[in-house]
Amino acid sequence: MLLVVEQFLNGLQFGLLLFLLAAGLTLVFGIMDFVNLAHGSLYMMGAYFAATFVAWTGNFILGVLLALGATLLLGIALEFVALRHLYGRDHLDHVLATFGLILFFNDAVRLIWGPAGLALPLPAWLTVPVPILPGIHYPAYRLAIIVVALVVALLLYIVVMRTRLGMLIRAGASNREMIGALGINIKLLYTLVFGLGAALAGLAGLMQAPILTVQIGMGENILILAFVIIVIGGIGSIRGAFLAAIFVGMIDTLGRAFLPDLLRQVLSSAAASTAAPALSSMLIYLVMAIVLVVRPEGLFPANRR
């Protein structure tokens, strides 16, 4: 029981983290029609910035806020210098250009921070276990991730659905020429959206950093997961991304936690312990394949143009 609750919360926490990453990706994708493989690099940069700034300032919160700002600026700079020239081009051009950016960021990080990973130590007040149910404790930091991610998700929803900026963003997604013709500075809007996506990726990266180590290439595996999520959820749909992210987070975490035991019921224990890790890694891709075969446009396709 204890284990089930804990793994369930872990799944929720991982899913929410994935949502932060996927939300930026799906915004950029839905609005600019831009495939950004370098989104994972921004996630990595967020983690590296956080590790650096926290060590520098000695204050966790201050360091994290600085890192968020730095990732936002990096995203805006990236969009301004290179990526805005690629809007409206073929998706393949996006793939090639941002693949180049991944190569660049990985080696730039290796040059600046060295090949060894960094650690982002937590302050003492975030390491205590918190009682959530009678007799069940859960690490405060993971609980904090859940809360922060939920707040950010709510804010995102309010910004996109209830503010003028969000209205422009949605309008830009459904018809970019029209909104440009109405006198909206579409270039500035795009830069803002890209920066927002970068900051969300950075936030996901720096929140994940204390749980895993900060290392080169950390963004690549999780980027693929984020793509899986936006494809399952339907490209351009934030609601779809949210539900799909929780779903994928749960499947991945619960699969890793319980699949070995389940397999042991049917297979010999040696066979089960070798097959389980591969099977649980495959599980989400399997789910995605099934979703796409049944619903080729994802589960919650965004409004058609």
């Binding site: 994708f29 495939v35 493989l37 290179a82 020239h85 690629l86 081009r89 998706h91 393949l92 051009d93 793939v95 090639l96 250009a97 693949f99 180049g100 950016l101 991944i102 190569l103 660049f104 960021f105 990985n106 080696d107 730039a108 290796r110 040059l111 690549e220 693929i224 793509f227 899986v228 494809v231 490209i235 070798t274 097959a275 890790p277 591969a278 099977l279 890694s281 495959m282 891709y285 399997l286 995605m288 394949a289 796409l292 075969v293 080729p296 446009e297 994802g298």
Partner: protein, 315 residues
């Protein structure tokens, strides 16, 4: 009538002649490294050419093409580990396994379009990657060492560098010839037509998915051959050859060389791998140069190298 003597044809001829004469140069200069490097390049050129068949001519942007490299490689590796050393068994199995995989994932993936297609092919390749990582009996994550290269009796000795190079080159030219014949056949016309305007082709009465699927399977099979060659070249196969960045490399080669041009992917593979090799000798942080270079190529060099060469003709 088109002039035969244009820059594009001249470069292609130079590349062919260069590749054919390379062993002569290496035996005269004693530069064995160049031969090893170019064996690798030729193998990747074959893989890139097969990707070009579906991506450049068929408009199917597969982001999971490296899966076939792994499947072809593992077919050779697993058979070798089980004591089946004959290439006459290994290679057909490698081709068949790749074709079968392409048939299954093609049938499922081709239901989707555009970015969804890119992502679903990627997902299937990742699945193959994790299956290979889970093959504990065959090395799992660490990969599988192949102690003896495929045995073709007295016909050809794969352990001889020069013979192996020419075998790879033969496969490359054979693959290119096949692709050229396919593209210019009625079948190829249909596939290219589907890329330009699917609705019209369907209105004429062509079953779109069936034609695409056959094309997809052919490309996968050719890439499986490249995988078998690659495993023999490195005497090793590991899940890493199927990782998604490998698929990205193949895509870069095709786009860099020029999509939908017969020799484009070959030139792309040569340039990309030579650049990688050259830059990694200059600096440890070669990707910091290669990455922005790719970005610049996308920004300013549309149509890849082949597109640039084509521009000479008009200018």
């Amino acid at each position: 009538m088109k002039a035969w003597l244009n820059v594009r044809a001249a470069v292609a001829a130079l590349v062919v002649a260069g590749l054919l004469l390379l062993p002569l140069y290496t035996s005269l200069s004693g530069n064995v490294f160049a031969l090893t490097l170019f064996t690798r390049i030729v193998i990747f050129a074959l893989a890139a050419a097969s990707l070009n068949l579906i991506m450049g001519y068929g408009g199917m942007m597969s982001f999971g093409h490296a899966a076939y490299l792994g499947i072809g490689g593992y077919a050779v590796g697993i058979l070798a580990a089980e004591g089946v050393g004959s290439g006459f068994v290994q290679w057909p199995v490698a081709l068949l396994a790749s074709a079968l995989f392409a048939l299954v994932i093609g049938a499922l993936s081709l239901r989707t379009r555009g970015v969804y297609f890119i992502m679903i092919t990627l997902a299937f390749a990742q699945m193959a990657y994790y299956v290979a990582s889970g093959l504990a009996r065959y090395g799992g994550d660490d990969g599988l060492t192949i102690y003896k290269r495929s045995d073709f009796g007295g016909l050809i000795n794969l352990s001889n560098r020069v013979q192996f190079y020419y075998l790879c080159l033969f496969c490359l030219f054979g693959g290119l010839y096949l692709i050229w014949r396919i593209v210019n056949s009625r079948f190829g016309m249909v596939v290219r037509g589907l890329r330009s305007n699917e609705a019209r082709m369907q209105a004429i009465g062509f079953p779109a998915t069936r034609y695409r699927l056959v094309c997809f399977v052919i490309a996968g099979t050719i890439c499986g051959l490249a995988g078998a060659l690659l495993a023999n070249n490195t005497d090793f196969v590991s899940p890493a050859v199927m990782y998604w960045t490998r698929s990205g490399d193949l895509m870069v080669m095709v786009i860099l060389g020029g999509m939908g041009s017969l020799f484009g992917p070959v030139i792309g593979a040569i340039v990309y791998l030579l650049l990688e090799e050259f830059l990694s000798q200059v600096t440890e942080y070669w990707a910091m140069i290669l990455g922005p270079l790719l970005l610049l190529i996308v920004l300013f060099g549309r149509g890849g190298i082949d597109g640039l060469l084509g521009r000479f003709n008009r200018g």
